[in-house]
């Protein structure tokens, strides 16, 4: 029979876990080294396992090296067919690669352009007036300079966050003193507290912006509770990663989780009441009379309360982190902060994966 060594899976669809231009050049190398045949490497995950007629070939597809002479002599037709299929697959793969690279180039140019714009804005000390943006429907929406500043600050915050997570990861893999760990843990905690301060300032400028979570990625937004993560949910996610825990610690964490849930519940109900009073304000009087300045004025006053709810939610997050810090040992806290950080990294990766997924035209 023919000699085969690799299973050829033409990637009909693929999702990119984390793509950089470096990976494109790696792909190019991969491509060249494999004689013009695409062999999936670990970076690109083929998601569609469905095989089309091209690889319906019940033999194992393309051998890593062509073994033409041996096969041709025994089964010339089969070999010819297989070679034609391979050529076709390679051609399609090259086309896909070309399209992908073009997409990357366009995005790269866009990114450079945006970075230049931001640099210019930073040098000008941000805009004097308001920046005009467009929302999804194409209407001009004024984005205040405070919110622009917040978005940029948040970008830096995420960068620093990623750096801290990498450091924690590296350090926990080896031997590290408690003293050094305590420093890293304290920095990580301070970093989260800084974010809450940033959000508080931004909420005072535009509370709807914070409530909408527009500065977060889509998956993070999906799990949002009043402008951020839900503390009790987070405790549930992190609990398995603290092993081993002393009995008293298990009790403390469970009590904390219950208190969190009660606090969250109370705040959520307060929010609902706020929504009801807001509805009442907006809908007051004669709906349809065409003039509604008093209703809007009243509703505006009520909206001020929304800021204090965002603050209260962040206060719960702050206190939850503080309590975990109190309950856990330094090493456990470091482990927990690493787990927490990577959890959000994964959500962000999920968001970009989802955004860049390629769909076959039906």
């Amino acid at each position: 029979m023919n000699t085969t060594s690799t299973h050829f899976v033409p990637p009909r669809r693929f999702e990119i876990y984390e793509t950089t231009l470096n990976q494109v050049s790696m792909w190019e190398e991969n491509f060249k080294n494999n004689g013009g045949i695409y062999i999936p490497n670990s970076i690109i995950i083929p998601t569609d396992a469905k095989q089309d007629s091209l690889s319906d070939d019940t033999s194992h597809g393309t051998p890593h090296k062509f073994d033409q002479e041996a096969s041709t002599s025994r089964h010339p037709d089969k070999t010819q067919r297989r070679l034609a299929q391979n050529r076709e697959a390679a051609r399609k793969s090259r086309l896909r690669k070309k399209a992908y690279v073009q997409q990357l180039e366009t995005s790269r140019l866009k990114l450079i352009h945006l970075e230049q714009e931001l640099d210019r804005a930073r040098q000008q000390g941000f805009y004097e007036g308001n920046r005009v943006d467009t929302n999804a429907l194409g209407f001009s929406v004024k984005m205040s300079s405070g919110i622009v500043a917040f978005e940029m600050e948040y970008g830096h915050w995420v960068e620093e966050q990623n750096r801290q997570i990498s450091e924690l990861r590296t350090v926990l893999q080896g031997q590290v003193s408690d003293v050094e760990l305590r420093l890293l843990v304290d920095n990580a905690m301070k970093h989260y507290f800084q974010l809450f301060r940033m959000k508080s300032a931004a909420a005072k400028i535009d509370v709807f912006y914070i409530m909408s979570g527009m500065w977060k990625t889509s998956a993070e937004r999906f799990f949002m509770w009043i402008g951020g993560f839900r503390p009790s949910e987070l405790l549930k996610v992190l609990l398995p990663h603290f092993d081993p825990l002393m009995d008293q610690q298990v009790l403390d964490v469970c009590n904390l989780r219950q208190s969190c849930q009660q606090a969250e519940d109370a705040v959520s109900q307060g929010m609902e009441k706020l929504q009801h009073t807001l509805t009442d304000s907006v809908a007051a009087g004669n709906l349809g009379e065409g003039s509604y300045i008093p209703q809007i004025t009243c509703a505006m006053e009520r909206l001020e309360a929304l800021v204090s709810f965002v603050d209260q939610a962040d206060h719960l997050r702050h206190e939850t982190l503080q309590q975990m810090h109190r309950i856990l040992t330094t090493r456990q806290a470091a482990r927990g902060l690493l787990a927490l950080g990577e959890y959000f990294q994964r959500l962000r990766a999920l968001s970009s994966s989802w955004a860049t997924r390629q769909r076959e035209p039906t």
């Binding site: 904390l256 606090a263 109370a266 307060g270 309590q323």
Partner: protein, 105 residues
């Protein structure tokens, strides 16, 4: 202020609120979930409303409402109540005032 002193030293959990304040509602819900029946003083209908607010701030409450007193002593506003609860210190404080409607956890 005498009025505030008198009202706040009533037995049990006392909360000064305003009808329009939704965080006041939040704090009431929390105490209800903890099986406590607080005494509520809604001050926006009180003629001395402004005086009461000033007095509460002077006593040391971070925001005038909600102002929570337990056994005559000031606990604080929403922030303080939440911090106490998450640290596990609120329940011991209100234990004498919890009703025995349900089995204790």
């Amino acid at each position: 202020m005498d009025k505030v002193m008198r009202m706040s030293s009533e037995k049990g959990v006392v909360i000064f609120t305003k009808s329009s304040c939704c965080l006041c509602y939040t704090v009431q819900i929390l105490f209800r979930d903890l099986r406590v029946q607080p005494t509520i003083h809604e001050i926006d209908n009180d003629p001395d409303c402004r005086e009461i607010e000033k007095a509460l701030l002077r006593i040391g409450c971070s925001t005038a409402v909600p102002a929570v007193f337990v056994g005559g002593k000031l606990v604080g506003s929403t922030n303080e109540v939440m911090s106490l609860h998450l640290s596990g210190s609120l329940v011991p404080l209100i234990k004498p005032y919890q009703s025995l409607l349900y089995q204790a956890n």
